[in-house]
Amino acid sequence: MNAILTIAGNTISEALRRKVLNAFLLGGVAVLALTFMFGQFTARQELTLIRGMGLGIITLAGIFITVILSINLIPTEIERRTIYTILAKPVNRWEFLIGKWLGAIATIGVNIVLMGVVLIIAVALKQIGAENPSNPLELLKGILMIFLQMVLLCSVAVFFSVFLTPLVNFFLTLSLFIIGNMSSFTQDLAKTGSNILVKGFFTVVHYLVPNFGNFQFTNPLVNPAVEVKSELLFLTQNCIYGLVYSAVLLILAVLIFDRREV
């Protein structure tokens, strides 16, 4: 445990030094601040817009931070040969991998929380003096879902990073994120495909590609008319899905990484 936490802590302190990541964080915060400037809408429209765009911006900045951080997590250690001295110590390869992953997750979490706080403050400020204001803390659920989505995205990228180059990994992970976000679309195709081959293909795609789309909490928040039957169920289901899928990916990553030469 000590080794995992040491490696995780080290990963965080290194990540926080990376300018690219901070740039995305700053960009996210800046755009969030900009949404605050809308003036030509009614108060209600404006609030909906801020919430929707806010969560969207956090997701976008989150994607870039997550992908850029995760695809390089392990390749950089190998390339810079810092891994030699680490693995020569009593550190199992799985501990190394989990430590790196945990450090990345923590970094991503910090970034998302920071952006989330800005958004919540913005929404709270907008509602000063409004009639029947909604609780801005409701947004926390949306932010949690974004974070879970990023945990899953990080696991996908780390999994590929143990056997693919960062460049290939970058495009592959992003494509999977996009496909995974169209989960309802792939599900439709799996059912209504013109022939068995097409159906089979999309069924495989639908079940294999992580369903990032499930995590879209944006809609019910932006548009309260669309009702989620049981919010709690929705949240727990997504949590379990994200964590189980991540666990499977990490186990596979460890199995591959164990045989890998460094």
Binding site: A3, T6, N10, T85, A88, V91
Partner: protein, 334 residues
Amino acid sequence: MPAAIDIKNLYKQYPVPLKREAVNAVDNLTIKIEEGEIFGFLGANGAGKTTTIKILLGLIYPTQGEASVLGKPAGDIETKHKIAYLPESPYFYEHMTAAEVVTFYAQLFGLKREDAKKRAEELVDFVGLGSKSDRNKRISEFSKGMRQRVGIAQSLINNPTLLFYDEPTSGLDAIARRDIRDLMLQLKEQGKTMFLSSHQLEDVEKVCHRVSVIHKGKLRTIGLVDELLAGERVDITVSGATPSFNERLKTLAPEANVLGGAGTFNVKDDAGLVAQIIDTARAENTRIISIIPKRRTLEDLFVNIVGGRLTDEGSIEGAPDVNRVSANKYKELN
């Protein structure tokens, strides 16, 4: 007691991209190293030294064969509590100070943060990076020699019984080399086992009990340093050697190594033979300039085995010629 290191018929092949055949980085290597031994592992660039060490640490896997360390298969996690590794030109997290880096590694051994910090301070002092200005520097501002010292500091955290040092003195200045050599002698005195890969032959000669030379992944020679270097020789330098002197020399000492063009040759240290050569020189009007007894150096051995020319950095290039003069002697002549 099991051997400290036991390598049996070890092979390692690296695939070459776009080619059928692979590089044989390690080729049927068998070596056994006992505890308490300082073992020199010599070889030219690309001989397979680093590859062997990486296999012993479990960083890479052999294509075939077995390797065990302290009685356990290579890469065993328990064994890693008792061993140390100093990679060739070690790399660390550039944004940290020496003490931070060593603290990080100490924590990987399970030391609590405070204990790890204390241990790091001790070791940073010990390797000579304790001055105020060095303490505040980040690794990115360190020179090669300073990095090597950090590498040594991290290798001593766990008071290891077995150390793998991969070219610890290459590329260092005379002072740093002497410091590291002294440290290795200290470790030798403490009864540590060391697997020392190097092509700084002088260091190996002074530090090691036993040496081996590998070439293209194959073991070419192995033995006690004293044994391998036995067979004293004498360098005789003459001037104005006449052709008939050269003729007679050839019959007197057919195995004489002629060093360079001028007039130095190297023969067995045999009083009778040397006296005969002196007589011959007198008779043939050839002036003797000097007669210097020489111990065979590791370098001679190395050059003979690897069969090339040894450049200053110790890399091998050029034609295989067993009786070729070694680089240093060549310089003495010119």
